[in-house]
């Protein structure tokens, strides 16, 4: 367990990562096979059973992420379920993720370690590009609320960009910047809200966010619909002084694991306890570097539910291996699989 807790950094080369993850993920496959009957049945239906001799992480059986909407995957007894994380979709049923106390604590620590890479080990003053109503009592069942609350743990002096009526609270933002704007501070929000609500305020008011570290998530679909690319997003914020910008990719079904954008490029990287594999949707073989395919996400965190090897409904591409700012694979998320059911902003950080 302790190796996992220390693993939230970005230090392992691909061969080191493969060597570390393979036995841990194989052990998790055996553990979930023994502890979660629905998982064992699905593996059996795919003609898979846990083996001891996997040669590569890509040989491990995966679970399609959408099955979480229709199955109860739980590898702990009901009495030990400490908290449930729900990934709400816009149309479909929600995924439910079951965490026992150990898993809840572990995912929060892992997230903490991962984020420390970009925000340091102190809780920073935090500007949240969202409405205070999103995290009001009772509102925390939403995925967005859960994600914000999860991130609030890494901040202090929390200030919301939007008031309870969803209007920009300019006096609050000005007061925040007057008090904390001279030293590093954290800005967090969903990508489309950063662009649609925060960015216009920065432009209009000429606010100085040069000491800010922006962490954002939620995907690009809503911005792509408005023809805003990741490059344009980054350039637009840079013009407002916001140069330290980190997108992250994660999902409720693998809570605590986030793939984080490196300091200078647009590429996402895997923390040391995780990896991605891009699969050709025709053959399901691993796609070569540079060839888009379906993203499989691997993480040693999920022990209370079988989410350690998941086939997502996202398209992605690996741009390179061990040749970027951080070691391991660097990749991009290209969007949803064309036939995937719309899931809304299903990315979640969640709370312990």
């Amino acid at each position: 367990m302790t190796t996992t807790l220390r693993g939230g950094r970005f230090t392992l080369s691909q061969p080191e990562r493969e060597a570390k993850l393979l036995p841990e993920l194989a052990e998790l496959t055996a553990h979930h096979y023994a502890s979660c009957a629905p998982y064992a049945r699905i593996l059996a239906a795919m003609d898979e059973s846990p083996r001891r001799d996997y040669a590569h992480c890509r040989d491990l059986p995966w679970l399609p992420v959408r099955l979480f909407k229709h199955h109860t995957f739980k590898s702990v007894p009901d009495a030990e379920v400490f908290t449930t994380v729900t990934s709400s979709g816009t149309t479909g049923d929600a995924s439910r993720i079951y965490l026992d106390r150990a898993a809840a604590s572990m995912q929060q620590r892992a997230l903490s370690e991962t984020l420390r890479t970009v925000i340091g080990s102190h809780r920073l003053p935090m500007l949240i590009a969202d409405s205070s109503a999103t995290v009001a009592r009772g509102g925390t069942h939403s995925t967005r609320g859960a994600a914000i609350l999860g991130m609030m743990m890494y901040g202090k002096n929390h200030t919301f960009l939007l008031d309870a009526d969803d209007q920009v609270d300019l006096p609050a933002v000005r007061a925040f910047l007057a008090a904390h704007g001279e030293r590093p501070f954290l800005v967090f929000g969903f990508t489309y809200l950063i662009w649609s609500r925060l960015h216009p305020v920065l432009v209009q008011e000429g606010l100085d966010l040069s000491q800010g570290v922006l962490v954002h998530t939620g995907g690009w679909k809503k911005l792509a619909d408005r023809a805003v690319s990741a490059q344009e997003f980054r350039r637009g914020l840079e013009l407002c002084g916001l140069r330290r910008v980190h997108d992250f990719y994660g999902m409720a079904e693998q809570i605590g694991t986030v793939f984080l954008q490196g300091p200078d490029t647009h590429d996402l990287y895997c923390p040391d306890f995780a990896d991605v594999i891009i699969r050709d949707p025709q053959t399901w073989r691993e796609a070569p570097v540079g060839t888009p395919g379906v993203i499989e996400v691997l993480s040693t965190l999920p022990r209370s539910y079988p989410g350690h090897v998941l086939l997502t409904e996202d398209l992605g591409v690996v741009h390179g291996i061990d040749d970027g700012e951080w070691p391991g694979k660097r990749f991009s998320v290209l969007g949803r699989l064309p036939r995937a059911e719309a899931r809304g902003c299903s990315d979640a950080v969640g709370t312990p």
Partner: protein, 79 residues
């Protein structure tokens, strides 16, 4: 004991505990007031009462009163 007494007050106030609820027996997310939002309120109140800074990892450790006492001692709070 002084630290514990002050912390008791912080728990009661930050989590808006009703009379008769013993801060020493509730656990994070096992009490309706001690949810994620209550947790942040509690941490901020602890930091202000004891003039300390609680890091993200320590903040996660605090899941009961005794854990809060330990973290406070770790970060150098005095009764």
């Amino acid at each position: 004991m002084v630290l514990e007494e002050r912390l008791r007050g912080v728990f009661v106030q930050a989590l808006e505990l009703e009379d008769g609820v013993d801060p020493g027996v509730i656990r994070y997310r096992n009490h309706p007031r001690w949810d994620s939002l209550g947790h942040m309120t509690l941490i901020v109140a602890m930091e202000s009462e004891f003039d300390v800074e609680i890091g993200p990892e320590q903040l996660i450790e605090i899941d009961c009163f005794d854990a809060a006492v330990k973290v406070l001692r770790d970060v150098g709070a005095h009764g």
